[in-house]
Symmetry: D2
Subunit: 343 residues, 4 copies
């Protein structure tokens, strides 16, 4: 095992930054040596996130004030577009886990189509590994730069990828109906995320045009070996954490269940429920676990596949820490085995 690794978190005033601090607080092999937040520089983390006030943490600084000599690994929890600009400036010998969308899409044209601008760091993109740990474990282990997946993309991929690998569903008939939580939208003040708008307010958004659709297409196509794109409709739940993907597929439920069970039998964080059971967001909240379930449809040769995870943990900061563990030579599950918080 490595010695204590020194960690810098760039963009620590958002929810994913705070979640990283929460997780690392009890990680036996890491210590936070730098926290940045340009607009809150000079403040203590406890002022920005009072739930962390019991921790001894470095004061928030500006990014340029971080001394790279005190850092073994950077977590970048910055907005997309900003992230690529910042990562370009970091020393090339430092490990980086990026939580933004900037390095997820391998094809620059696809990136430009979905994010509305040309990528400014294509050389970095070329070396980035897509951070869906369970499917890219070996690449992550040796990577210098890992791109955290979209939280919705992770959820859907956990439900679907093993089925494409095992060839037990029709790749052209995949419908991903997904419901996510408000923390996925971050901490910036937006009218649509006010309690009075969200509570009792369930609705779909970015229907058939959410950017994480590009990640589904990329990963599905890679497995199938030709362009494949699902239907994808995300909804906003009146809750803080949790994503549930409800995926409608064509195939035999039992074969589907077997494919998932086989794929995840040795995975510490992926749990496949007995055939016929469906998972719930409340049973993974605050944890790095993902629950997967399969229920046969009444109609033959159709099934519904579910995946539930916590968007801030397994869908984002927990995944990032899992990847960092691999990159730094720690056991993959270190600091990530806390049980979900229920109720």
């Amino acid at each position: 095992m490595a010695q204590t690794a020194r960690i810098a978190i760039l963009g620590a005033s958002g929810y994913t930054g705070a979640e990283l601090v929460r997780l690392i607080a009890t990680h036996p092999g890491m210590t936070v040596t730098a926290l940045t937040a340009d607009r809150r520089a000079g403040e203590g983390m406890g002022a920005v996130f009072p739930h962390l006030r019991h921790l001894e943490l470095p004061v928030l600084t500006r990014i340029e004030e971080v001394d790279p000599d005190q850092v073994d690994l950077y977590f970048c929890a910055l907005p997309h577009a900003t992230s690529q600009e910042v990562i370009k400036t970091l020393p090339r010998d430092k490990k980086i886990v990026d939580l933004s969308a900037d390095f997820r899409l391998r094809d620059p044209d696809v990136y430009a189509e979905w994010y509305g601008r040309a990528h400014s760091a294509m050389d970095l993109q070329a070396e980035a590994v897509y951070g869906l740990t369970e499917f890219y474990r070996d690449e992550v282990r040796t990577a210098r730069l890992v791109a955290g997946t979209g939280c919705n993309a992770a959820t859907g991929n956990f439900a679907v990828l093993p089925l494409l690998v095992a060839d037990v569903i029709d790749p052209d008939e995949i419908i991903i109906n997904l419901a996510g939580s408000v923390s996925g939208a971050g901490r910036s003040a937006k009218e649509g995320m006010l309690h009075s708008e969200v509570s009792e307010g369930y609705h779909a958004y970015n229907v058939a045009k959410h950017r994480h659709l590009a990640e589904f297409a990329q990963e599905f196509s890679k497995v199938v070996g030709r362009p494949v794109e699902p239907t994808f409709v995300p909804h906003l739940l009146p809750q803080n954490r949790g994503i549930l993907a409800t995926v409608y597929v064509r195939g035999q439920a039992e074969a589907i269940h077997n494919a998932l069970t086989d794929a995840y039998v040795d995975e510490p964080f992926l749990h496949v429920l007995p055939l016929g059971e469906a998972p719930a967001t409340r049973h993974v909240r605050g944890s790095n676990y993902c629950h997967v379930g399969v229920v046969p449809d009444r109609r033959p040769d159709r099934a519904i596949v579910f995946a539930a995870l916590d968007n801030l943990t397994k869908g984002s900061s927990g995944q990032a820490l899992q990847n960092a563990n691999l990159m730094l030579g720690f056991p993959e599950t270190m600091g990530l085995t806390m049980a979900p918080l229920f109720p």
Copy 2:
């Protein structure tokens, strides 16, 4: 217009009973002359539902204490199976709107399959009209017994039926993903409906085997002229009121949007959003309005159709009152035009 109609509500201690009282309280043509609740008989409605304490209402009684001579129309808000037993005992010259599941399914074998017992009042079933007002208006007007629809069934049917009538979608490729609220489960104490279980707890339930699926199959098949059954997966939201159906269909979005617009152009309670917009439960809460939307999928010849309504109002008690208005000769919208409560 009729004179003031005298109303009895059987089963007034549940949420649909209370919702009927709420609506009738400001209905200019109705007065409540009897309220029953066997276990709460002798109590005032304000003790059972303090939000109604400002109203002058009859004391709760047992069903057998209701004097039929003081009743022009009965609303039956009793549990299914109980409802058919009670309605059998009511005078045959009284109008009845039933809110239970007992008279929704026209085929006794289908009823027995889904509800696990033979129907005990098939003669009444034979005369019952399915209470989806917008599609059975003429029958409702002359009916003696109207069967209120399932709240989920109403929501999905508003999204789908006009598309089958207009023949703009493939009837064999309909997937109804639906999310509903806790008030739909009624007021009886169940572990799964506790705040601590529901809050932050989104999940699917009765996957591909919810009883309202039988109503979809019945109504879809009737329009298409042959057996048709969709895939149907309901989910439970951490909110009190509201259902959103997200329906995945095969067809041209524009043709679908036109079919819905044409079907509902003169409907007072059905509003079709501009093509590309999706509705939200918060925008219909506490009202009898239903918002319908259509968004094209990225994939050709596919679309997503949405319908949002309040399960206790348009999905249940508001629908019941709308039907009662027709049966009693009142204007259909009387007492039902209050705007939604937001936030």
Copy 3:
């Protein structure tokens, strides 16, 4: 009764503006002829508030575009400080109900102390009537300008004022512990009002320094005839609507209960619960009703007095409409008797 009154709502893009539209939509004596919202001018109300999309309403305009000849009464739902600037410019022969804080405090020094600036329209302040209808009914009836009360102030005053009038409590020993809901903070995007911050997040704010404390002091002192100020601590609930004031007083519970019962016996919107019962916010939601309760403490000569109301209705827009009814010669309760929405 007056003919149909023509209503302008200035500041219609906020929650109190939308609540006015909701209420007036079914008011038989009023019609909305103008709606303003500077930043949304040119848009339809249904675009800003989709729950009102079924209504035929004037397009949103800028304030200066409103034709006073088409207006009998203005509701001003503008931010404080802005409100006084706008009302100064309105014709002096028009009736106005202001929902801001600008005309609530009669003493200009007190206004300056709590709002941090000198008042710019003291002549208007001089004619303004404090809009706590139940205590200022006669003045409201003949007023040209009525100042809506703070929603918290209304709640606490309903619990306390009759006790000071009847001299059954010690005026120097009043502690008002209050819990309010997020809609009271309005629709502007603030980090502290995000769902992810509010949900599961109960806390006190503006402890012992909330501006509505000045209204308590003003009204209590007026009744008692000397300066009186309570302790006042507001808290933020994870819910959309509703305020509950829990008031700790010194006095005999029975005398207190009698004083409240006597004061409110003829009031259409104030309901005093039986001695020993405490009200709940869910039982007044969406309505103009206020529930008041008294429970004796275990310690002699102490009691707890509760008042619950909906901050957007009885605490703000419903109160405003109640006052407007009086000013325009309509029955005081017209358009305001809808039952609360529960659940």
Copy 4:
């Protein structure tokens, strides 16, 4: 440090039992050897609490099936009254932490008054230590039987006890206004705890007669040396976890703040905020931390003292584990330093 301690949890199908399992799952010195739940005997813990499905745990059994030779310490998470009957039957050489109300009140008459029956195990009561760790640490360390405090009692005591010890407030003028969460009511199905009743439903309950008042009186009187009883009014929040006590006291805010700071300076789980700041439940959720704050009132010689904690953790199961650590010779904070979960 002791070897691995073998733990039995009696009453594992309730929320406090599940919370114990959650905490012990990552405790390096404990292992769960027995879990009981009479009505669920034979089932796996993952069936009762799916959020714990990733853990290897003993199957649920009946209490009499537990082998005492495999147990070093029992946690009793049984209903009150049941708990004393069960603990009577346990071997006298085993350590026990009871989470019920059965051994909290030292005076049998007070117990009988508040719980409506005579105590049946007064000899055990005589040896029980009141488990408010920060105030009974030495007694806990050597105790055989520790009585977990009421969650509300713990919260209020953390705010008040140091002030009585330091003699900086008037003991006869203490008003404890408290707001708690639904998980405090346990997992049994009750109408009043349904999501549809709780959400948007804030209200007071057991006003001035909640059983935890007896604990306040006991502890306050012990410190002051004569009978002292506060006013205590609990309220129910629409949230799952968290208690905030808002305590109105007579004394100088600065002296109060100093007394709390001095009392808690070396406490690992008690954090006193800077003078003038108030805590929030969201900042302690899921953790064993308690945040305490003091704000001066506008009126001289009065102040408001706040304490916030998680009722299931610091208020119940976390406190129990903290006590068990002491009883077993583990470091007091072992397994309890996870950061709060926010948002």
